[in-house]
Subunit: 624 residues, 2 copies
């Protein structure tokens, strides 16, 4: 550790993964560490309690190293391992099984943009002495009815050697885009059975990569990891701010590229394949993530009138952005719609099939932004509501991502107001994740511990309901039961943050419906997408008024539809074409300057809503 | 210098430029150096006289360093500076003036493949909030009627910043190829006046680069240098052999790329332009040079049935092959016809205009290979005859390239048989270049010092005609007059080498004419291309039987037509299209396995020819 260096930066350099939701701004208070030996020079940190400060807690981002240190990272500050979990069938709504996923993919025409063709060429003679390339073109045309205008330099360089090594049998990788066809790779002999693609969901928090067998379209394996950019800020806005700093854009690009490269390498190793047999990386990410992956300046996404550099991206070599794969590998990025409706949503809409059906569908992906698409095969309209980080545990004192030790499910006894909690990985609780927060609020509301405005009723006997250092709060776990040796609580400010988030989403849904003069009852299906959405319980979500109260059979949990769409694009040219059409035809409503949205938002800042009669089921429960 | 290292390699590493025609094979005997201090371990060198060995001469390529050395490089072993010289009007044939060159270029439709368009975009608003790229596309379409499907990643990355820096005025560089249009660069404000291209003639020996103003098509400046590959072998065959050695191909590519980069940088500096304003490098080179520039394995060019990797090349970024220019710069390589009819010849045919005329034209470029094209606007037929290095001074004891000190013109008094010599740069003679050799042979023949077979008549009194260590020879310059302090001679073996070279070319011309059942008298024009050809004197050339004896007014010296063609491609899309058509329609006759060619060749191994009656003018002179 260099003296004078920022402790958060030193941790990043040492590859110690700390939570740092706000990008080092000092506001989220998540990067707390304990200085056991030595001293740091630290700035005030209002996010720490007096008690914590006395115990030696500092915020890494607010601390400068002045001497040799021994620093301990408490469990809640560590970024947990991502736990892949299959959700149990929800009591309300249909969960798309992985079998249904594969069925959906199998229903697509299998006609991938990359094809491997094994071809035998007649060896040249003095009478038939055209160049290797012209010979290849002639035979591709004669034998495969393929007219390839262009060849990549890499493939051309491989051609003479491959032809002779393979005794005039070579395998040609063709890239077909629109009307164009180009030769992307040449290998000696018949390698047409070894053909793979990588589908990537480039999430702001988590990146998931799948290895796709390009001879069948089958998923061979999946890997996921945190987006390494997380250490530069948790949400897209803090990433954009980080990108404007010195070398920030370059740094962010190299971090996401590093994450993707690692996932690909892990898949390549696990399945013992040659990375040269990967033709394409098919990526779906939100507009900012796509910009950062490609190295495009995202700063104008954040400034009114919120303009992205591009929504359609050139098809380039994966190596051009730094992804460490073999030279012939291409990178396809899903087209975006606007600054806050990205390629992940386009991919999700494609994956959901809503753009092919007549049924009126509401597609919703809840995270830091709530992205909402309404429509059917004839029209699509979308908006994005800034929910803030509450759903992902941000802005909540003991909030955290849904990793080991996060309280994810909560029931509160209506009479005793005692909680029952379940954590991710069933470990000692160290914090509370989005679904846990929603559960807690819904349960506190139904138990009448909090009122419609989310304010605590402190009249009861239960010591769990108390006035804490940060105002009224509910103790979910006592210090002796927690993994952090501190009480895990949810306070009024936390609840307020989540209510604001849910209000934004609910208002967004209303605005979309209003804009086409439709109402909740017109909705045929609500598709809930995304890692967070997949673990929601409709009853709880409706109780707090995040989603409208409509019949259970209209809800579908699609899961990571961005990943599904990314996979679909790898196996079908039609999907790629369709994605372009969908992105082009989707109307985008900008909410940030929409006054009607503000009205709707304010009305939704209640549990479940100002107009509680829109939630008759919730009303019923409150009465009981 | 490392002990045990080869002295030629050590010289190359130290950037000492030695002649090394045979690539280090020990046969050309041109890399002679004098070891003044210390000893080398050397292998036998038959190319050195006993006297030279006694004087301390060794061949660098045959010598291993065993201790610290002091080595002197005699003038004849140094690669001289290239001297640009305007040729005086020839007594026979028409010399295309540089004015006529520019006129030829001006006659082409000015419609370059790269265009710069300055465009003003309406700034985005909340109601018109499409991405920067979609806005650009929309306005290009609206205002310029340009539909650009693709954008290069570099240009896309520049777009958001440029738009705002230029206050929504940007200059777009468009690349139009065939039906496709792509955005290659974006610059803030109006830079449409700063637009340049580089035209390059990638010669085996010499590389010439021109800076072209892309707003007018005018040539702004020209630079030339040796192809740095020369140190790896003088001709294409020795380069191909070198390329098969460890890292040989990579080394050769980096050498030619280095030469081109240096020339571009010199032009950029001289004219104070921004290298970012260079849209394209337009290169014409023979098939092997083009392969080496692109890093394509050329080895099969040399092996029967003589197959190049490609004859049409992808349009790539100049940076992709390592040329150190700004990221947006493209590289276009002229298409080739076959292994030994390259892009330089396609460019030459385009430059000559022969493919647009009805007149029967014979286009001939004489160098190590004699490349010959016969035809008109309806058909084109070509062949390449391996002339060996004699025309460039190779395989000739005192032969050298046409650099300072090379004897370039020779007259021999018919009675006294005393010579009159002129050297390049009018310096003390240090050797004899191709035109000097041709002159000497023609003069010796007409003076009857040598007979029709090139054999010396040693009966005379003149001490210049003597039996030397390497057989009968003629002394062109005595040691006391020479820059090398040794007699400069031309011997029977030298003459034999040149006669073989001229016989190959003459036989090639005959075969082409025969193949279409035409004769010399049907030829309307003979166009002599190339640096060497440009200094030929038709009378001498006809006297030795290199070219047929036809009327003076049918000869045109076009000069560096490869350069002219390269320039033409920079300023006209039509030329690029035409080049593709010409390369495709040109028939190639392979001579190396043609038995009729062998017959013609043997008949031409005489001065001027077995059938001397085909040269009535020469016969006349011999009689006088």
């Amino acid at each position: 550790m260099e003296k004078g260096e920022n402790l958060l930066r030193a941790a990043m350099a040492a590859e110690v993964r700390l939570n740092a939701s706000c990008g080092g701004d000092g506001t989220c208070g998540k990067c707390r560490v304990i200085v056991d030996k030595g001293k740091v020079e630290h700035q005030p940190a209002p996010a720490l309690t007096k008690e914590e400060i006395d115990e030696g807690y500092v915020l890494a981002c607010r601390s400068l190293i002045t001497e040799d240190l021994e620093v301990r990272v408490p469990p809640e500050s560590r970024m947990g391992r991502i736990i892949e979990k299959e959700r149990a069938a929800p009591s309300c709504g249909r969960l798309l099984s992985s079998r249904e996923w594969e069925e959906r993919l199998a229903s697509l025409k299998f006609d991938p943009p990359f094809k491997k063709v094994c071809i035998n060429l007649p060896p040249p003679t003095l009478d038939d002495n055209m160049s290797d390339l012209e010979r290849l073109r002639r035979e591709l045309n004669r034998k495969c009815d393929v007219r390839c205008a262009e060849i990549d330099l890499f493939a051309l360089k491989a051609l003479p050697g491959a032809l002779r090594m393979g005794d005039w049998e070579v395998t040609v990788t063709l890239l077909e885009t629109g009307t164009e066809c180009r030769v992307a790779n040449i290998e000696p002999s018949d390698t047409s059975k070894d053909h793979y693609a990588i589908a990537v969901d480039v999430g702001t928090t988590t990146v998931v990569a799948q290895l796709v067998d390009m001879t069948s379209g089958k998923t061979l394996g999946k890997k996921s990891d945190y987006n390494a950019q997380a250490s530069c800020g948790e949400d897209v806005i803090s990433r954009i701010i980080f990108s404007t700093k010195d070398n920030g854009l370059k740094k962010l690009q190299s971090l996401i590229v590093g994450t993707i490269t690692k996932l690909i390498q892990a898949l390549v190793e696990d399945f013992g394949i040659d990375s040269g047999s990967i033709s394409g990386v098919f990526a779906a990410g939100n507009t900012t993530m796509t910009h950062l992956l490609l190295g495009l300046d995202p700063r104008y996404i954040r400034e009114e009138p919120y303009i992205p550099g591009a929504t359609f991206f050139p098809c380039i070599k994966a190596g051009d952005v730094g992804i460490d794969v073999a030279a012939p590998t291409y990178l396809y990025c899903y087209p975006c719609v606007a600054s806050y409706i990205g390629g992940d949503i386009t991919a999700g809409v494609i994956a959901s099939g809503m753009a092919e059906k007549s049924a009126l569908t509401l597609f919703i992906d809840i995270g830091t932004n709530g992205e909402i698409v309404l429509g059917n095969k004839d029209w699509l309209i979308s908006c994005s509501c800034s929910a803030g980080p509450a759903f992902e545990g941000g802005g909540v004192k003991h909030g955290m991502q849904a990793v080991r030790g996060a309280i994810e499910q909560v029931r509160i006894d209506r009479e005793s107001t005692e909680p029952m909690i379940i954590t991710v990985g069933q470990a000692k609780p160290i914090g509370i994740c989005g679904t846990g927060i929603i559960d807690t609020i819904a349960e506190l509301f139904l138990s009448k511990v909090i009122d419609q405005r989310g304010k605590f009723n402190l009249d009861g006997e239960n010591p769990r309901i108390r006035n804490g250092e940060f105002g009224p709060e509910y103790v979910l776990a006592w210090a002796e039961d927690s993994g952090t040796k501190r009480d895990i609580t949810l306070n009024e400010a936390d609840i307020e943050n989540l209510v604001r988030a849910k209000a934004a989403v609910f208002a967004g849904i209303n605005i979309l419906l209003d804009s086409v003069s439709l109402g909740f009852s017109d909705i045929d299906e609500i598709i809930i997408a995304g890692a967070f959405g997949n673990y929601l319980e409709i009853e709880k979500v409706v109780t707090i008024g995040l989603l409208p109260e409509i019949s259970c059979d209209k809800f579908t949990f699609i899961g990571n539809s961005s990943m599904l769409g990314a996979h679909a694009s790898a196996q079908s040219k039609e999907v790629i074409e369709e994605a372009g059409l969908v992105a082009r035809k989707m109307t985008y409503l900008e909410l940030s300057t929409n006054t009607r949205f503000m009205d709707q938002y304010v009305s939704a800042l209640f549990l479940p809503h100002t107009n509680v009669e829109e939630f008759p089921g919730v009303l019923e429960q409150l009465k009981s």
